[in-house]
Amino acid sequence: MILSGFILSFMIGGILAWMAALKNLVLARWISLITVCFNLFIVIILWVQHLQGDESQSAWILDFSLPWIPRFGIGFHLALDGLSLLMLLLTFFLGALSVLISWKEIQHQVGLYHFCLLWVLAGITGVFLAMDLFLFFFFWEVMLIPMFFLIIIWGHENSRYAAFKFFIFTQASGLLMLVAILGLYFVHANQTGTFTFDYFQLLGADIPSGAAMWLMLGFLAAFIVKLPVIPFHTWLPDAHSQAPTAGSLILAGLLLKTGAYGLLRFIVPLFRDQAVAIAPWAMAIGVFGIIYGAILAFSQTDLKRLVAYTSVSHMGFIMLGVFSFNMIATQGVVMQMITHGISTGALFILAGIIYERIHTRDITRMGGFWKSMPFLGTCGLIFAMASLGLPGLGNFVAEFLVLVGAWQATHKLTIIATIGLVAATIYSLRILQKVFYGNQSATHGLADLSFREKLVMIVLVVSLIWLGLFPQPVLNTSRPSVNVILETTASSDENGTRNPKIITIKQKRYTHE
């Protein structure tokens, strides 16, 4: 019930905010803030309870299921495990920040804006919870439309182009996933006679290897476009740089994570052998992305574009980690999803705050802001350090884990990936140098942060430091899920034999019920 409550509350909250805005704009903002914070509160309680619970419990914490379209065996099946729980925490946390950050920025069509914002969050929440492949696809698409509107209506000067590109890239790749989902559905039905889209039942499908490769590629297409992986990344810089601040925050912090989540949740458990088969290629592309993204980030002059390319670079670590197929790397991936969401989101907020003051994103026209905005400067320093992977901040933990894990899988690629950390240092320091140091370029006075902005910044800084110093709660939460995900892979990987994965999956399945 709680799970569907999350999604419903966002949808209802969105409608309420829209209605409220007809009378009172401030009320609309408060409604959406309260909706998100309420959900955040609930999920924190869930988390605390989960951490206090004993270790031996099954990977699945909550499960909610209703029949939806019995004709096709589609159920409204939501379930929560450690991985989803962490993703929900991230979603609601960034959601609350995105409402706060657009408090002053958005003055045009406030009601519709909050409606779109909350519906994007509803879609993302659904993606992280759906355990029915049709439902997953449904939410996967639902989150696109409000995002499209966020970019096109409240975006910057070239928002139409960016919104179209974003929409068509993700939608087209999503359709490939739909075909793959249907393929899986019929393959499973032909074998067992049950027509179902249920994740847990499909896990047991024994897919003929020829078909499995194609089906996996269908899923992979959707996820790597969303992640994004070179060469499918071209929508990202446009969408990120043109979206309003909250839009960029959600895009970078959450939408990209749905791709990574999909890789972990679907590709690895469902198509183990095929994933292993393409792993060298996937890792190579990931590593290429790390370096290529870093180089492009360095050469940007548009601050938001620059941050966008750093995302491309950081997402390379996710590809590297996921396809290493071991505990450490996968834990690193989960960590990276969270810390990248926070640190990159923070950089976008920073860019947004600067844009609100000087109305440009061009870093050649910035400089010396430390003098007039010391608070922002300090925060910016911390975010840049997080982005370059300084120990003590969250990103270090994540990237370190990924690299340690990847080392067991491949030496060469890991060494090259490590160079990415050096490149990250270069572009991160460039942001600092261009924006905060140097000669003061803007002649007009710049106000330092307001209370609201300070609050946002402090929360971000605290969470980054906390994740860097005490990552253990997060790792503990995700471990059971990662175990489930990897269990299927490890058995064939190490012994070289095809253990019937059905057995392990079935065990897992019944333990949670």
């Binding site: 069509q109 049709f134 929409f167 087209a172 075909v179 249907l182």
Partner: protein
């Protein structure tokens, strides 16, 4: 003729008598409201009759008609669509035409023609239905005769439809020559004895496909669509896109299954080529358009392609997919044209993309409904169009018609672009002062607004809870 025959054929009688009743009523006194009332009442009564009166699962009225689940489902669908079109027509004609009453006669007759198609099992009833439909459409398209393009559209449609009828007749004659029968079922029996189609049969089927293709507006017989859609009054355009095509699709499905089209590679191959061409050409031409009517015309070509993907996939799932998609497509298309009707002013229809600039800020509700319609056409979740597309892809995947499924995916991606372009234009911030509507009594717009609202809600309802509709279709198709 038995009592059961009479009961079965009653829906057609009701339509016919409604047309005659209107004819008399006009000769007594011209009154738009009364005529409108009669039309609405008779269509509604017809639908209620169809859904309430219990008739046998399948009843054949020899030699022309068959009343089975599929036929009844399509009958009901066409009647409901015609009903919503009539509702939308009222405000539109009220502000435009002096002699608006005859339009309803034509509307009812055209519906009668389409209904006849859905239940015919014989070449004669096929041809009768098709001609009733076409002849009514000639005058409906040119109904606003003072408009230049209306005439042009009417004449174009007249010539092309007459040509296609000639093709159709010749095809029928050839098939009759070989098989000695005009009944679908006995043609099927004759064909099942053959291993290979004789050349005359192939020619006959070829001519039939040409004739049907013209009516459906699939590529390469699509040249008339854009001009006729553009020229016709808006309610007629949506009639062309929905009822007229729906009837022909139902007929095609029946004919194809009864003659076992699946067994003949030449027929399947021909349709595959036509379908792929329709999807691509329709979408590519739609990309270029600045006129929403033309855009919807081309997009309807590609949607016909989508429907025929499920049709080629065949099987029970394919048939269900066709029916479901027809419903989704009808709701969406009638809704989209309904909104255009709603926005049109006295002199011209709201059809240029410019007319939609900033609509979100001028008329938020209308723009929201229109976006929902467009998203449904694009096949985005929460709308009926999505479930329809899902159904079609499912049908395609289950019968492993990978080529068609791939093409459908590619085309959906292309199609997205022009649908969201309209939405983008509606979101633009600039306010262009479009002259306000001619003052009409609010009650007129109430009817149109109500219909559009109902269609939008239906669209979302079917999109989120499709199960009831699916169950209905299943129970109708496999009793």
């Amino acid at each position: 003729m038995s009592k059961q025959d009479l009961l079965s054929i009653m829906p057609l009688f009701i339509l016919t008598s409604a047309a005659i009743l209107i004819l008399f009523s006009i000769s007594i006194k011209r009154n738009h409201k009364v005529i409108f009332g009669i039309t609405i009442f008779s269509l509604l009564a017809d639908f209620i009759f169809l859904s309430v009166v219990k008739t046998p699962v399948s009843w054949i009225v020899e030699p022309l008609f068959v009343f089975d689940g599929f036929g009844k489902f399509n009958l009901g669908l066409l009647l409901l669509t015609a009903l919503s079109l009539a509702m939308l027509s009222y405000a539109y004609f009220e502000q435009r035409e002096e002699r608006k009453e005859e339009y309803y006669i034509l509307l009812i007759l055209a519906t009668l023609g389409a209904c006849t198609l859905t239940i015919s099992k014989h070449f004669i009833s096929l041809f009768l239905g098709l001609e009733i439909l076409s002849v009514s459409l000639y005058s409906m398209i040119a109904y606003l005769r003072k408009r230049e393009r209306s005439d042009e559209g009417g004449i174009k449609y007249l010539i092309i439809a007459a040509c296609s009828s000639a093709f159709l007749l010749f095809g029928m004659a050839l098939i009759y020559y070989v098989t000695g029968s005009m009944e679908f079922a006995s043609i099927g029996v004759y064909l099942s004895a053959l291993h290979e189609l004789p050349i005359i049969m192939i020619a006959g089927f070829g001519f039939l496909i040409v004739g049907i293709g013209f009516k459906l507006g699939i590529v390469p017989f699509h040249m008339w669509t854009a001009d006729v859609y553009e020229g016709a009054p808006l309610p007629v355009t949506s009639f062309l896109a929905t009822v007229s095509k729906g009837g022909v699709v139902a007929l095609l499905v029946r004919f194809y299954t009864q003659v076992n089209g699946h067994q003949h590679d030449s027929i399947v191959g021909t349709f595959t080529v036509l379908v792929i061409a329709s999807m691509f050409v329709g979408n590519f031409l739609a990309l270029q358009q600045q006129n929403v009517k033309r855009l919807l015309a081309y997009s309807s070509i590609s949607h016909l392609g989508y429907i025929l993907v499920a049709f080629i996939a065949g099987g029970q799932l394919g048939l269900e997919a066709v029916s479901f998609y027809l419903v989704a497509y009808f709701i969406t298309t009638v809704g989209a044209f309904g909104i255009l009707t709603y926005l049109s002013d006295k002199d011209r229809d709201a059809e240029l993309l410019v007319d939609f600039k900033g609509l979100f800020w001028r008329r938020p509700w209308t723009a929201t409904s229109f976006s929902a319609m467009l998203l449904s056409l694009a096949g985005i979740p929460l709308t009926a169009g999505f479930v329809g597309k899902f159904y079609i892809v499912a049908a395609g995947v289950s019968s492993s018609t990978w080529l068609l499924v791939t093409m459908l995916i590619v085309n959906s991606a292309i199609g997205l672009f022009y649908y969201i372009r309209i939405i983008a234009i509606m979101c633009e911030k600039e306010h262009i002062e479009v002259q306000t509507q001619v003052e009409l009594t609010p009650s007129i717009y109430l009817i149109s607004g109500f219909s559009v609202a109902v269609l939008t809600i239906a669209l979302l309802w079917v999109g989120v809870f499709p199960d009831e509709l699916i169950a209905l279709i299943q129970s109708m198709l496999n009793p």
